[in-house]
């Protein structure tokens, strides 16, 4: 079982690689203010998260996640 902080570290690493942004600025990052977070990168993020954590998101989690914190919540929910 992974803690929230462990999940945050992995999610941040993934987001900084995919979005090509500095990991220190990720905690507050939201889709609407991150130009590289396009709708098609959005699905790429979920592909990577499912692979990294070996989980399956439900349809709504993917469709409505709008920020780094939403992603962390979605991962924790899927892990639980």
């Amino acid at each position: 079982v992974k803690s929230r902080s462990e999940v945050e570290v992995i999610v941040d690493r993934i987001l900084s690689t995919i979005l090509q942004i500095d990991s220190t600025s990720l905690s507050g990052s939201a889709r609407e203010v991150t130009p590289s977070w396009t709708s098609l990168i959005h699905i790429e993020i979920f592909f990577v998260l499912e692979e990294e954590f070996d989980i399956r998101f439900d349809e709504d989690s993917m469709a409505f996640a709008e920020s780094r914190n939403d992603l962390v919540d979605a991962v924790l929910e899927a892990l639980s």
Partner: protein, 555 residues
């Protein structure tokens, strides 16, 4: 190990080893997506890259293929750029006119978006493919998604990916987010097939020769005096079957093994599990020489450029040494077993082709006959002409040889003056004639081994060579000049011209064509692109075949 081998070992860098070690991971989809993202952004392995644009026409989201395509491209030094067009269910291609040689048109069609019945859909799809094919004057790749992933090139099905227990291609959970039901596995499978196989089948020099090691590559165990130490398990048998399939598709096969020749021949002929036999190979190089020396001998025998070769071996040092001597050669590691090497082979650019050429037997017959020819030629060309009675064949605008000519024109690299890779429609233009060139002698019928397209110039008395090529398989018989000039002469007469304009380009691999120009047409081998006008009279005098050689011209 020779001192040359030691020097080669030193020249192999750590990143070369990493490149080889990661081969199956990259090509068989075993990288994580985050690794793919990172690899896609890396600079290429060497600076010499081949730039290709894939223009994507689609009616659904396909962008997740991009990182995989770039990663595979980086692996093979192919610089892929993807140009995504807007969603369009009609595939009308309106307003687009910037078609060029460096762009391959790729259609992605989700079948579920159409209510047509199967026949209606197929007719519509063929029309779409025809339209973009006519606009681009190139082969078109079409990927249709229904309950599987189907690949077509120029309307012909060439392959498919199906849903299996191991790989789920579709998942409706993704549809709301991406507009497509494709899974990550499906995107990576499409990217690997497109970047490693189908796109290169259009632009990359085709592979022609597969050279394989024996121990731990074609069989398990070490061949020595005791054959019973050699085991051909089902996995190795599958690889042997794949090589036979490749042979049937037109590939030549050869062996390079550090073993005694007698042991190798005995193994192949008598081992009950061995599917491949001696006559499946154009060359069996079994010796204790360095493998690159054996490869050099095979290249000389087959007259195949090293870029058209795939070398399969389980020893990374042998593979990297070969690559350091022949940088353009593709190498496949057999270290992880025959199943992996067989799958990896599928993603070597130039290995898979949309069509088989059906010419393997002709090519092999020619090579086998070369031994007999060589012994005559060693006594002088005159003795070859008198004993072998060569016949030059000139086929003027003969539709029967057109497909073969178009194919040969696209494949010929070494003896090719202009390398325009013209499509069939350009051969058939009203103001042009195409000429097929063939060669027969007592030993073999080499079939159509060269050709040219000649058009009428706006200056009525002049015609222009648009394309001219010859297979290197037939060089060395002293007949190139007579054959090519007979072809030009036939074209000049057909177009009613009095002189012909011959142009050439300096390309990476067409030195044999430039050498020919330097020895027969120009006073020296050209070092820059150029054009020369030659009178009919000069062409006619150069076209006279040597004594003992006859020429047949037909339409």
């Amino acid at each position: 190990m020779t001192s040359q081998d030691s020097a080669l070992n030193l020249s192999i860098k750590i990143d070369d080893h990493y490149w080889l070690e990661s081969q199956s991971k990259v090509l068989l989809g075993a990288l994580s997506r985050i690794e793919v993202t990172e690899l896609a952004r890396q600079t290429n392995h060497v600076e010499n890259t081949d730039h290709q644009t894939l223009r994507i026409w689609r009616n659904f989201a396909i962008e997740p293929i991009e990182s995989w395509i770039k990663a595979i491209g980086n692996y093979w030094n192919l610089d892929y750029e993807l140009q995504f067009m807007g969603y369009d269910d009609s595939f009308s291609f309106l307003g687009v006119d910037n078609f060029n040689d460096r762009t391959i048109e790729v259609l992605f069609i989700d079948r579920d978006r159409y209510r047509m019945d199967p026949d209606e859909f197929n007719d519509w799809l063929s029309g779409v493919e025809l339209r973009i094919g006519q606009l681009s004057k190139k082969q078109v790749i079409c990927i249709v998604i229904n309950d599987q992933i189907n690949y077509r090139i120029n309307s012909e099905p060439v392959g498919a990916v199906i849903n299996t227990g191991k790989q789920t291609l579709f998942d409706s959970r993704y549809e709301k987010t991406s507009g497509s039901r494709l899974t990550a596995i499906a995107y990576s499978a499409i990217a690997r097939d497109l970047a490693g196989a189908w796109a290169p089948s259009i632009f990359a020099p085709p592979k022609k020769l597969l050279v394989v090691d024996l121990d731990f590559t074609l069989h398990d165990g070490i061949l020595g005096e005791l054959q019973n130490e050699v085991v051909v398990s089902n996995e190795f048998l599958s690889l042997q079957k794949e090589l036979l399939v490749a042979k049937a598709r037109g590939f030549l096969l050869a062996i390079i093994s550090k073993n005694d020749l007698g042991d190798v021949l005995k193994l192949i002929e008598t081992h009950p599990g061995y599917l491949l036999k001696e006559n499946d190979f154009v060359a069996i190089e079994a010796s204790w020489d360095a493998k690159h020396e054996a490869m050099q001998r095979i290249l000389q025998l087959t007259r195949i450029h090293h870029e058209s070769v795939v070398f399969i071996d389980d020893n990374p040092v042998e593979l990297l040494q070969m690559k350091s001597i022949f940088p353009g050669m593709s190498v496949v590691s057999a270290k992880e077993g025959p199943e992996v090497s067989m799958q990896t082979l599928q993603f070597v650019p130039g290995y898979r082709r949309a069509k088989t050429d059906g010419l393997a037997d002709i090519r092999k017959g020619d090579l086998i006959s070369n031994e007999a020819r060589r012994s005559l030629i060693d006594n002088g060309l005159k003795s070859y002409y008198s004993a072998a009675s060569p016949v030059l064949k000139v086929l003027v605008s003969n539709e029967h040889c057109l497909d073969r000519l178009v194919d040969l024109g696209k494949r010929s690299n070494q003896f090719n003056l202009l390398i325009r890779r013209m499509e069939k429609s350009s051969y058939q233009e009203d103001n042009a004639v195409f000429v097929g060139l063939g060669l027969i002698d007592r030993f073999s019928d080499s079939g159509v081994i060269g050709g040219m397209v000649v058009s009428r110039s706006p200056q009525e008395t002049r015609c222009v060579v648009e394309e001219m090529f010859l297979s290197c398989r037939v060089l060395g018989r002293g007949l190139e000049t007579a054959l090519l000039c007979q072809g030009m002469l036939a074209a000049i007469d057909c177009l009613g011209a009095s002189d012909i304009e011959v142009s050439w380009v300096i390309a990476e691999r067409n030195q044999p064509a430039l050498d020919w120009l330097g020895s027969c047409i120009l006073s020296e081998v050209p070092t820059e692109n150029g054009t020369l006008s030659i009178s009919r009279q000069t062409v006619s005098s150069l076209s006279i075949p040597p004594e003992g050689v006859i020429c047949e011209i037909s339409k």
